[in-house]
Amino acid sequence: MSVSHSPPPADWAASAPRRSCTFLVAGRCFAVDAASVIEVLRSQAMTPVPRAHRAIRGLLNLRGRIVPAIDMRYRLGLTDMPAVKSPTNIVLVSGGELFSLLVDELIDVTDIPAIAIEQPTAVSEHFSRDAIEGVFAGPNGLVHLLNIEAIVSGVMVSTANDSDRLETHMEKILR
């Protein structure tokens, strides 16, 4: 990533290439912003979280930090194909918290020219597209650009009880 001391011109952001981390889920190619990615891990032991969103495969221990792993097959609704034996963890940060995306295989870190990113309406595929913010026709096929915040907010499950006051309080205590 280039280092710039002066603010870029207004059109710079639009035209700058987006450095992205690309990966495979159920044979399809997806990408997330590489700047959010902390590290990539092999398959890890995980503790399931009962009653959580089905896409939350479990919690993993990343050097003492508790990181929820989001199974991208479930998150994207791509459960028709058999899962790989040992999925890869892409650990990234969203809203100050760490998450891991469980993907079939990491492909690459690549620059995607912003100008080549199209609206997702152009494609029609049979999976949930709420987290897809754009598509890009790459040399090896279509790449779906994912919005990390949308991925995370999509796995929110609230039991809708009235203990909100306590919860927010516990959150505060636990930093």
Binding site: G58, G64, I66, S153, V155, M156, T159
Partner: protein, 796 residues
């Protein structure tokens, strides 16, 4: 400029701390107006702010602190003496400084507020005080009488004193009596303070110089604690891996073990802060409140150096402030009322913090009028919490608990101070959310004592590790009341004897549809952890398991788990917000093997299971309790293998000690626990040998021809878990006497009455338990009459 801003920020942080110190010093000075050290400290602080503001060109700040310094200088030199006007003026100065500092922090400049009047006031107070000096009352008074400032007609400016924790941006009122406004005070002139060296733009000499310390980012400390936790895990794994065949390596590992342990301790200590961080605000708050309410209050603070986790310190600030406010506003009476009752005019308010059995206790005690129990009773009825008949039957201490109900206030009118904002229910909720408790005792005209107990830290909590469906979970011990083995016969009791508890069971099940468990005559709702966490789970049979009685607020319920593992101190780690929103988990922890274990939130579990919560001792609960209550006994096996029953009301607790912890003292076996010595008596010694013959016929468990010490020792030493003791209770709680037994068999509720004709020394009588005659130990007389080795015994 950026560098300068850095300096300004540092100045602001430091000044904020200095202001807190000023607040404290000023109020303390009122108690002891001639304390030269306090005066010097105050003078130094004001002087420092003045000097630094001159350096940065903050002229308003310089001007008012200059005037304040002048006044303080006269105080220090003894030219004038401290009175309410002086203190009031100085406190107003502190507020003004705070206002300016806030403005600097937010806008970078001093803001538009005009403080010339304040400068003038300060100067005038100095002059007036000097003029009236002979009229000042004796400064030897320890209790300072605080007249409401509003009664001081010459100082209208002081009426405008801002709210206690002043982030006030209110401009100070203009004193109408002044003839002409003073010109803006000049920038600080070192020549006016001849006793001190010229103002230097250097880091001031303060308390910090004496106690070397550095500022560290809190998040950095957090990450250090996290990393140390990791290190501990790695160490554990290392220890498990290293075999005995490599002694050299083993030595190194042991060193790593001890160093890691020490490091963990040190790292945890970095999170600790003295409770003074909260307490330091209180003298000022109480002073202002007392003035507002027209009361005289003497606040005594003890144990401000008591340390606890910084995250907890933030949490207890508001609840404690609220309790203090209540004490001043509702508790302590007006001076006139107090004098009429024969009390001193000044009320005493004591704030005390101390460590007590792994917790921090904060006690707020006033000698005021107490909580009007009858008013609470009436209000509880009026609010429909209880019926009028129920209310009359409730004991006073139970009635007092109603003030923890949401929106409950007996205050006749809403005052500026109390009667709105956070109530006692929020105090309780806040304290309980961090695993603490709130106790309240009140006596008419004697006063009210509120005890807040809080854990030392939230980062590490004791927890019970349980498992359900092959998955481990942690339950914070703060909620756990009791563990009960779920046996098929107990369950049958609930299911196969519908006629016995028909009305109650049908009522409950019909109403709420929840399974219940009968525990000592009480019906508790049962929650099955497996089906709660996985609604699709189908249990084949319910044959085994453990019921964990959990208590939330005043409610109890049983949580059924597959197995109970062990107790552990766990490091609480936050979990993602998307998981917190489930409401089921309070966090997670990492076990010794590196695995992540979820910490259950019992409140969320209860809500998820939609169980009907029952107050553990309320009237409504008693409706479910069968009237007939048989005495119950704890059935134990002594070391010589005899079966004895101990009346359950005599038992406080059961405990197991490591054998190595036993000591001999004064011919008795004693054990050191929780800072005191407890005597252990052997149950066999109490019964005496003359029962041995009788025992043989009765006891098929362990036929023995006599009681041989060596046999007993051998038998006792085979017990792997150490010494099992029944801790006896006294009327006031737990005694210092433990009864040593081989093992605990069960709690029984015999159908036949106690036969008192079959009695002897140490034996209350005999009772049929499961078809066998069993001696009932007379604990009291046994302990008094029989000492080990039959030495003459003084009463216990």
């Amino acid at each position: 400029m950026g560098e300068n801003q850095e300096f300004v920020r540092e100045f602001l942080v430091e000044a904020a701390e200095n202001l807190d110190q000023l607040d404290r010093d000023l109020v303390a000075l009122e108690e002891n107006p001639r304390d030269p050290k306090r005066l010097a400290s105050i003078f130094r602080t004001v002087h420092t702010i003045k000097g630094t503001s001159g350096f940065f060109g903050f002229s308003k700040l310089g001007a008012i602190t200059h005037s304040g310094e002048h006044l303080l200088g006269q105080l220090r030199d003894g030219t004038i003496e401290l009175n309410d006007r002086v203190t009031g003026a100085l406190l107003t100065l502190v507020d003004a400084v705070r206002t300016i500092l806030d403005a600097i922090e937010q806008t970078g400049s001093e803001g538009d507020a005009d403080f010339r009047d304040l400068s003038q006031t300060l100067v005038r107070v100095a002059q007036d005080a000097a003029a009236h000096r002979p009229l000042q009352r004796s400064t030897s008074d320890i209790v300072v009488t605080r007249l409401p400032l509003a009664q001081l007609p010459t100082e209208p400016a002081l009426k405008q004193e801002p709210e206690p924790v002043a982030d006030s941006t209110t401009p100070f009122a203009t004193p109408p009596t002044t003839s002409e406004p003073l010109p803006p005070a000049p920038a600080p002139q070192p020549s006016l303070t001849p006793k001190l060296p010229a103002v230097q733009p250097t880091i001031p000499v303060s308390k910090a110089a004496a106690e070397p310390s550095i500022r560290v980012d809190v998040s950095l400390l957090g990450s250090i604690v996290d990393l140390v936790g990791e290190l501990v895990l790695a160490r554990n794994q290392l220890q498990a891996t290293v075999g005995a065949d490599t002694p050299e390596l083993l030595k190194v590992v042991q060193r790593i073990h001890s160093v890691t342990g020490a490091l963990q301790n040190a790292a945890m200590k970095t999170r600790m802060q003295p409770i003074d961080h909260v307490f330091s605000k209180f003298p000022r708050i109480v002073r202002n409140l007392a003035v507002t309410c027209g009361k005289e209050v003497h606040l005594q603070i003890d144990g401000a150096d008591t340390e606890l986790d910084r995250s907890l310190i933030e949490t207890i600030r508001d609840p404690l402030a609220h309790l203090l406010r209540n004490a001043v506003d509702h508790g302590i009476e007006t001076p006139a009322a107090r004098l009429a009752k024969g009390k001193p005019a000044a009320g005493r308010l004591s704030l005390r913090a101390f460590h007590e059995s792994g917790q921090v206790t904060v006690e707020i005690k006033d000698d005021g009028g107490g909580i009007p129990v009858e008013a609470v009773r009436k209000k509880a009825v009026a609010r429909g919490l209880v019926t009028a008949e129920e209310a009359l039957a409730l004991p006073d201490d139970r009635v007092l608990q109603f003030i923890f109900e949401p929106g409950f206030s007996t205050a006749a009118q809403v005052t500026d101070v109390s009667g709105r904002g956070v109530g006692m229910d929020v105090v309780k909720t806040n304290i309980e959310s961090i695993g603490g408790t709130v106790d309240l005792a009140s006596q008419a005209d004697v006063g009210t004592t509120v005890r807040v107990r809080i854990p030392l830290t939230l980062a590490i909590i004791p927890a019970l590790i349980v498992s359900s469906q092959q998955q481990r979970f942690a339950i914070p011990q703060a909620y756990v009341r009791e563990l009960i083995a779920l046996r098929s016969d107990r369950l049958q009791l609930a299911h196969s004897q519908p006629e016995a508890a028909a009305a109650q069971l049908n009522h409950v099940e019909g109403l709420e549809g929840a399974p219940m468990l009968r525990v000592r005559g009480r019906l508790l709702p049962l929650v099955f952890l497996d089906t709660t966490l996985d609604p699709t789970f189908q249990r084949a049979t319910l044959s085994s398991g453990t019921v964990i009685i959990l208590r939330i607020d005043d409610y109890e319920f049983g949580l059924v788990v597959d197995t109970v593992g062990f107790n552990a101190d766990i490091v609480v780690k936050p979990i993602a917000a998307v998981l917190v929103s489930l409401g089921l988990y309070a966090g997670a922890t990492v076990m010794g093997d590196g695995a992540v274990v979820l910490i259950l939130d019992p409140r969320g579990i209860a809500q998820m299971a939609k169980i009907p919560l029952r107050p553990h001792d309320s009237q409504s609960d008693q409706g479910l309790v069968p009237v007939v209550s048989q005495p119950r006994y704890l059935l134990c096996e002594t070391i010589s293998g005899r079966r004895v029953a101990v009346p359950l009301e005599e038992v406080a607790r059961l405990e197991t000690f490591p054998r190595a912890d036993l000591e001999q003292a004064a011919g008795r076996t004693v054990i050191h626990r929780a800072g005191r010595l407890m005597a252990l008596a052997d149950a066999d010694d109490l019964l005496g040998t003359h029962h041995a013959q009788q025992q043989i016929t009765n006891d098929s468990l362990m036929p023995m021809s006599g009681v041989e010490r060596s046999d007993r020792q051998a038998r006792a030493s085979t017990e792997p878990h150490g010494v099992t003791a029944v801790i006896l209770s006294t009327a006031s709680g737990e005694s210092d006497i433990g009864l040593q037994v081989q093992r605990i068999l069960e709690v029984v509720e015999p159908q036949t009455p106690l036969n008192c004709s079959l009695r002897a020394v140490g034996v209350l009588g005999t009772i049929a338990i499961a078809g066998r005659a069993t001696e009932v130990l007379d604990v009291r007389t046994a302990l008094v009459s029989r000492a080990p080795d039959h030495t003459p015994q003084v009463s216990l």
